[in-house]
Assembly symmetry: C2
Homo-oligomer: 224 residues x 2
Amino acid sequence: MDPITIQPIGVVRTPYVEKYDAPRQPEVDDRVDQATIELFPHQNFEQALEDLAGFDRIWLITWFDRAGSWKPKILTPRDRTKRGVFATRSPHRPNPLGLTCVRLIDVKGLVIRVEGTDLLDGTPVLDIKPYLPYADAFTDVRAGWTDDLAATQYTVVIEPDIEAAASELASHARRVLAHDPFPHPYRRIKMLDDGSYELAMKEWRCFYHINGQVVTVTAIVLLP
Amino acid sequence: MDPITIQPIGVVRTPYVEKYDAPRQPEVDDRVDQATIELFPHQNFEQALEDLAGFDRIWLITWFDRAGSWKPKILTPRDRTKRGVFATRSPHRPNPLGLTCVRLIDVKGLVIRVEGTDLLDGTPVLDIKPYLPYADAFTDVRAGWTDDLAATQYTVVIEPDIEAAASELASHARRVLAHDPFPHPYRRIKMLDDGSYELAMKEWRCFYHINGQVVTVTAIVLLP
């Protein structure tokens, strides 16, 4: 079959420049991120955007331009088993197409303000569609291997003085460790000789131990 | 921005060869349509499909290869006002990307059986993703101009002898007229001199009148 050529219609503008800046699961992450979609001029896209403002949510189809090569099996952030890439939302797919349902704030000329995206700044946008609940909203459906993951949630306790000293780092640690506090190739976590753990965050190190589903942070330390 | 080149990963196989064969709104239409997605061989796609079978629903991102040129404003089948194309699911968009959530039946090798698609036979498939309710299912959201359309539903009464004589045509008429019984450039409906209407279906003609929200079919006639 012949290849298809697509001309992007616009670009995503977000605060996320590097991959590690972006929230991995925007629906779970507690950061409120605002983003804009800037469509390209001189193509009548102003007209094509009319009537979009009445929708609460819209779909963005984007191109993961920094995804690199694809792999048939993928280790996703919360899992310990590799999964077929078509059973994941990983960007490392044969055609790195992104599909995100975002909250629509407003439309002004060629600029669309949205909330709830984890896209990197500069990501090309290929298409915009309205979210139609009758066609798109299916609750109570099995979500395959991800159903098992959703069942596990950890409680994170941070000692009060640690929390005060480094509240910003603490909130990062809380977010990361609540999802999965164990070492994993995608996380900067190592197990120490005494069975406790160390998480690296820039030049900071966060020390904690795990007891069942409870993760207790005992220290957040700045490297000398 | 540079154009993007996409190599399709497979092809849709459905009973719909021509545009008028396909159900316009698969979720409302009462036909049960089965389709298969055939992925192309020798690319490790068998591995990439592993773990997909546990999902009830999957997304297909496709390419409307027969859509023709795009238009900034579109008249959709149930509407009387042109809408900005990005506020519609029309195929006549700058990048004719299709987005469909289908019911997954099974996966065997490179063949995926699904239900609930209105895609034409031979449509190129660009990507397959699992349906994740936490990320994709939003009920109770405003759906812009389509909310007004959904409020209007017509009751169709077919005279008993007509129904018996032509039950298949009657069910087609019931389906088409319940959505919108008025003349429209996309439907083969005309108003007659006496204020009643005629719907053309292949070599058949269906005559009816409209009284408020009730459409009464008085005759289904085979052309000589």
